[in-house]
Every structure is written in structure tokens, then in C-alpha cells.
């Protein structure tokens, strides 16, 4: 029962990861790709949660914490780069 739940969670997360990479490949503009990267970071946090539960190695939760913060830094960095360096395309 519990093993089935872990497998189901892994499968659902993998489907989401494929969809996220599809938007990362497709995404017509750079902000769309940044959104996809941020979702992939949260998906990785979910994978870490499943791995911690299935293996019992609790120190990996610290990795999830660091990942949450670095994903935020990456998103804000991309946003600043876009806002300072970009120009409007539609006027």
C-alpha cells in the first residue's frame, strides 16, 4: 500500500517534469521559460520529499531548503536582467 503510494507520487511528479520541460522547450518568450524553471525547482523539492520518505535519509531535507532559496534567487536574477536590459517589443 505504502510502496504503491510512493510509486504513484513518483509517476505523477515525472509526468509533471515532462510537461515542465515541454514548456521549457516550447515557451515562446524568456519569462515563460523562467516560469517553467521555477516549477521544475518545486518539482525537485517534491522528488526530494518522496526520496526522503522512501529511503529514510533525512539530511536531504536540507537540500530541499537550499533548493527553494536558490530557485528564488535565480528567478529574481532573471527578472532583474529582463527588466533592466529589455525593451518593449510591442510598441
Amino acid at each position: 500500500m505504502f510502496e504503491i503510494a510512493i510509486i504513484v507520487a513518483n509517476v505523477l511528479l515525472s509526468i509533471s517534469l515532462v510537461l515542465g520541460f515541454w514548456r521549457l522547450y516550447l515557451g515562446p518568450t524568456l519569462p515563460d521559460r523562467v516560469v517553467a524553471l521555477e516549477l521544475i525547482a518545486s518539482l525537485t523539492i517534491g522528488f526530494i520529499a518522496v526520496y526522503v520518505i522512501s529511503s529514510g535519509r533525512t539530511p536531504f531535507i536540507d537540500v530541499a531548503m537550499v533548493l527553494a532559496l536558490t530557485a528564488f534567487l535565480a528567478a529574481v536574477g532573471f527578472a532583474r536582467y529582463l527588466e533592466k536590459g529589455g525593451h518593449r517589443e510591442d510598441d
Partner: protein, 131 residues
């Protein structure tokens, strides 16, 4: 009992992640994609960390899981706001059925500050009244 609860949290969190990814792929423009991924993604990751905290039931693990959830709740809205603002300045096209872009023309191109709204009495005398 604890395993059942953990399984429930894990599977529901993963299901919310699938919803977020579906929204990322299916939604037609950038603000809607942000809307889908930020809320559903944070809820999914938070539920899965709650599952970790429930499964171990240990003080240190629970504290760290709560810290992860707190960082997620703290950083995700700020990041989404920054990306949405940057995308608006870059000129990412909105959905073709968007009714109105209320910010259009209000932002200063150089300083990226918001101009004050138009005078109320002037707009009521000359223009059409707001509906």
C-alpha cells in the same frame, strides 16, 4: 495510520504538481501560467513536505520541513511578482481575448514607475463614464 496519512499527503501533493504542470502547458499567456504554477506548485510542494513531517514525527525533521514550507511561501509570490513585472516590461503578448490592459501607457518607459491615475473630475466631464 501514519503511513496512510503520509501516502495521502504525498499523492495529493503530486496531484497538485500535475495540475500546475498542466496549467503551465495549457494556459495561453504568461500571467495565466504564473497563476497556475505558483499557487498549485507551492501547494503541491508544501503538501509533500507536510507528508515528510508527518511520516517521521521527529522534532528536527518537522522543524526543517516547516522551514522549507516557510521559505516556499515567502519566496514564491515574490519571484512570481518579479517575473510577471519583468514580462510586462519586456512586452510579452497577452492572450488575444484579453478584455483590457489597464496598465498600458501608465508606466514610465525609462524609470519603470507607475504614473498617477488620471484626474477623476476631468475624466467624468470629457470621457465616457467608467462602467
Amino acid at each position: 495510520m501514519i503511513e496512510l496519512l503520509t501516502a495521502l499527503f504525498l499523492v495529493s501533493g503530486a496531484a497538485f504538481m500535475v495540475v500546475a504542470a498542466l496549467g503551465l502547458v495549457r494556459m495561453p499567456d504568461l500571467p495565466m501560467r504564473l497563476h497556475a504554477t505558483t499557487k498549485a506548485g507551492v501547494l503541491g510542494a508544501g503538501l509533500m513536505m507536510v507528508g515528510v513531517a508527518v511520516y517521521f514525527g521527529d522534532g528536527g525533521v518537522t522543524t526543517r520541513a516547516v522551514a522549507v514550507i516557510g521559505f516556499l511561501l515567502l519566496t514564491a509570490p515574490v519571484a512570481a511578482h518579479a517575473i510577471g513585472r519583468a514580462g510586462y516590461f519586456v512586452g510579452v503578448p497577452l492572450w488575444e481575448h484579453t478584455r483590457a490592459d489597464e496598465l498600458k501607457g501608465r508606466y514610465d518607459d525609462k524609470t519603470h514607475t507607475l504614473a498617477s491615475p488620471p484626474e477623476m473630475n476631468e475624466s467624468s466631464s470629457d470621457d465616457e463614464p467608467r462602467r
